[in-house]
């Protein structure tokens, strides 16, 4: 598949070049514009061009088509092993957003993981998923004996086109496999979100890679947890720009927001101290 794509892009490039030679003096800017127009078309199918915006202008501006591509592979990576629950939470919140996009058909969500994938962190808890806007009734948990089976199950789910979105936890993912998943997701027009281990370094064909660090939550004036916060770094973004944001999740409205620039960590700590005295 990869070879096919390279030859495709190179052939279109040669056409461009010969065209440039024929017209003796073509504006360099025009060529660049033409390339800009052609490249995304080669990169992605029409289905994957659809995107789901976060609803946060600062963040969406970094992403191609102003949002997370729907028919694509996205990776969510915790900064350290201890941040895995935070990364899983971010992934679950994204899954829930994708699910809402397809809400009319009430399609299920799939989460595929080998039984070892989350073993260190317990089992996904329905009532907790509910807090992130992910309706557990729509979630189907697929637990496999090993990663090979998990990858098979993910591809199977993508090909069936039945779920609204697919999540998964995969530790080892070589470039070739990630390319295959990315292509399958593109063809199916389904989002695939993979939770990767903290130490992931290998190249992948994913459309985006998010690096998640747990951050101190936003608290209300009583010192109670109001909005979960994550430090989300867009580490890789095909056809987009990288960036870093302090993302909040509103458990009431089930939506993302950006933490106010003035949010003072000292304030929340102070509130906590006050609460301790009260308790």
């Amino acid at each position: 598949m990869l070879d096919g794509r390279i030859s495709m892009s190179s052939s279109s490039l040669t056409i461009l070049r010969s065209g440039a030679r024929a017209a003796t003096r073509v504006d360099r800017a025009a060529i660049v514009a033409e390339l800009r127009r052609l490249l995304p078309r080669l990169e992605s199918t029409a289905a994957s061009a659809r995107a789901l915006p976060f609803g946060l202008t600062a963040l969406d501006a970094h992403l191609p088509h102003g949002g997370l591509a729907i028919g694509a592979l996205h990776e969510v990576v915790p900064q350290t092993h201890g941040d895995t629950p935070a990364a899983f939470g971010f992934l679950a919140a994204l899954l829930a957003r994708f699910a809402k996009d397809h809400a009319r058909t009430n399609r299920p969500l799939l989460f595929v993981a080998s039984h070892r994938a989350l073993a260190d962190h317990g089992r996904p808890h329905g009532h907790g998923l509910n807090r992130l806007g992910l309706d557990p009734a729509r979630l189907i948990l697929v637990e496999t004996a090993n990663e090979k089976q998990a990858l098979w199950a993910i591809e199977e789910a993508l090909r069936s086109g039945a779920p609204a979105a697919i999540g998964g936890a995969i530790a080892k993912l070589d470039l070739k496999t990630s390319q295959r998943l990315q292509l399958t997701a593109g063809e199916a027009g389904l989002p695939l979100l993979l939770l990767r281990p903290a130490k992931v370094a290998e190249a992948s064909a994913a459309a985006t890679r998010w690096r998640i660090v747990a951050a101190q939550a936003a608290r209300d004036r009583f010192g109670l947890l109001a909005r979960t916060r994550w430090n989300a770094r867009l580490e890789r973004c095909r056809n987009g720009r990288t960036g870093e944001w302090l993302v909040e999740f509103d458990h009431g409205a089930y939506r993302f927001s950006l933490a106010a620039a003035l949010a003072d960590p000292a304030l929340s700590r102070g509130a906590g101290a006050m609460f301790r005295r009260a308790g």
Partner: protein
């Protein structure tokens, strides 16, 4: 020759041809048998009734090639044969004579001499087969005449009844049939008259089939034995296509299926497949069978041990469900509608479940319990609606099946934690929200709850704790300080996003 202890004395329970030539009879004591065969060199083995039962069961499975309804002789019938209910199956073999001939030929090839008979009632067939009466194939209604000359042993009655009858001078069944019933009813257990009635077809004779009788069934004999997985799947698909006509006619679809593979050497392998949604799609069924076989191959299950190959393949539908008319047929070409999606979804789930094994594809269902570990359950069933999340009582994203102990430093024993050590790492608490008090479920007291020493579970105080790095934990203190315990223990029960 086989021997077993019968009321304290070793007695002969089975013999082979050579032993019989030497005059060894079943039932005599081992000492007598030895005396008779001093020259022949008697070989004695202990009888193994359990192994006999297992072998008979295997043979019953083997016999399902003739009809899916096969019952094993029970203890009273001697536990040494099979009932085959061939109603509606005989014509597939070209008539009852041919079926019997085929059955005996194949059994002989397996080295099993057998006697068989066909009759309208199980009792009559049993009697004729056992006492070699002619004709072997009894027309319906001729039971009375056929049974009359047979000895009373031809009724499946207990030894005690038999002895009493003999003592009273009854030797032939005919004598019982000719005499009035009332004295027998007064004198004997219900068994005697019941057996007579069953043999004559006047009373029902419930047979316990080794496999639940299928609703739809299709079987194919193969010219050449097959062993390859693809071949089996292809045959299964053809069998399913045969069944689909009947399913469509009745407006139902298959919910559970059983694929039965008959090995050349008499072994039988069967494969059960459950579906989340009734289907009539032969290709889908074939795919599920392929996935299941793949799983078996991966687990190096002996299922795949084809021996010299399979000579017959049967597919049975054991449970059905209504299918809305035209459901799959109409939607196939059309755009993806809700019903089409539902079907694709069911097919996906079935496929995953067959390949990954049972319990690998699950949904979460809420349970009305205050205890977090009991508040949900995994189930394979369809989705149920969940209550809305309660922000006043936040629940963690990930929950440990078994809460992990933690060392906690608190300012006061009943206060929130200040620092805690969990999995060898010290976490400073930046913020603690709580406590949320969850009392033990007193109505479960006494039951083995695994809560510890006491009969009742101690009260738990849950805290949502955020450490200095921003990671969120769900800790609880077990036991109310000074009321339930003086040294409360701490646990990490879950992790928040």
């Amino acid at each position: 020759m086989l021997a077993a202890d019968v009321s304290g004395t070793p007695r002969v329970v089975a013999t082979n041809a050579v032993a019989e030539e030497n005059g060894v009879r079943i039932g005599e004591t081992l000492a007598d048998a030895r005396a008779k065969t001093v020259d022949a060199g008697l070989q004695v083995r202990a009888a193994d009734p359990a192994a006999d039962d297992a072998a008979l069961r295997d043979l019953a499975l083997w016999a399902t090639r003739y009809t899916p309804t096969v019952a094993v002789f029970d203890e009273k019938s001697g536990a040494d044969g099979l009932f085959l209910d061939i109603a509606g199956a005989a014509h597939l073999f070209g008539g009852e004579e041919k079926l019997i001939a085929d059955l005996e030929m194949r059994l002989a090839r397996l080295g099993l001499p057998a006697r068989s008979a066909v009759a309208a009632t199980a009792g009559a067939a049993w009697a004729i087969a056992r006492f070699n009466a002619a004709p072997r194939i009894l027309a319906a209604g001729a039971e009375r005449a056929a049974l009359a000359p047979l000895p009373i042993e031809a009724l499946r009655i207990s030894g005690k009844t038999r002895q009493t009858l003999r003592r009273l001078g009854f030797r032939r069944i005919g004598a019982l049939l000719d005499n009035p019933r009332a004295p027998f009813a007064a004198r004997f257990e219900r068994e005697l008259l019941l057996r007579i009635d069953q043999a004559l077809g006047c009373a029902p004779d419930p047979l316990v089939f080794i496999l639940p009788p299928p609703i739809y069934h299709s079987l194919r004999y193969l010219l050449e034995p097959v062993a390859a997985q693809e071949a089996i799947v292809a045959i299964a698909q053809r069998l399913m296509r045969d069944i689909v006509h009947a399913l469509t006619r009745d407006g139902v679809g298959a919910r559970t299926l059983r694929l039965v593979l008959y090995r050349v050497d008499g072994g039988v392998k069967s494969l059960d497949i459950g579906l989340t949604r009734a289907t009539r799609n032969a290709a889908h069924v074939a795919r599920l069978i392929a996935l299941k076989l793949e799983r078996k191959a991966e687990m190096s299950d002996e299922m795949l041990d084809a021996g010299f190959g399979f000579e017959a393949v049967g597919l049975a539908v054991t449970a059905t469900d209504r299918v809305e008319p035209g459901q799959s047929e109409l939607i196939a070409g059309a755009a993806a509608t809700d019903a089409g999606l539902d079907e694709r979804c069911a097919e996906l789930i079935d496929g995953l479940a067959q390949r990954l094994g049972p319990n690998s594809v699950q949904r979460l269902a809420p349970v009305a319990s205050h205890l977090p570990e009991r508040a949900e359950t995994a189930c394979a069933a369809e989705c149920v609606s969940w209550p809305a999340a309660d922000e006043a009582r936040p629940r963690p994203l990930l929950l440990f099946a078994r809460a992990e102990p933690a060392e906690v430093m608190a300012q006061v024993p009943e206060g929130p934690p200040r620092r805690f050590r969990w999995r060898g790492v010290l976490h400073g608490v930046a913020n603690a929200q709580g406590p949320e008090r969850i009392a033990g479920e007193w109505w479960r007291m006494g039951a083995a709850t695994g809560a510890g020493v006491g009969a009742s579970q101690p009260t738990r105080d849950y805290y949502l704790v955020e450490d200095e790095a921003g990671r969120r934990f769900w800790l609880y203190r077990e036991g109310l300080y000074e009321r339930e315990t003086t040294a409360p223990r701490w646990f990490v029960h879950g992790l928040f996003a």
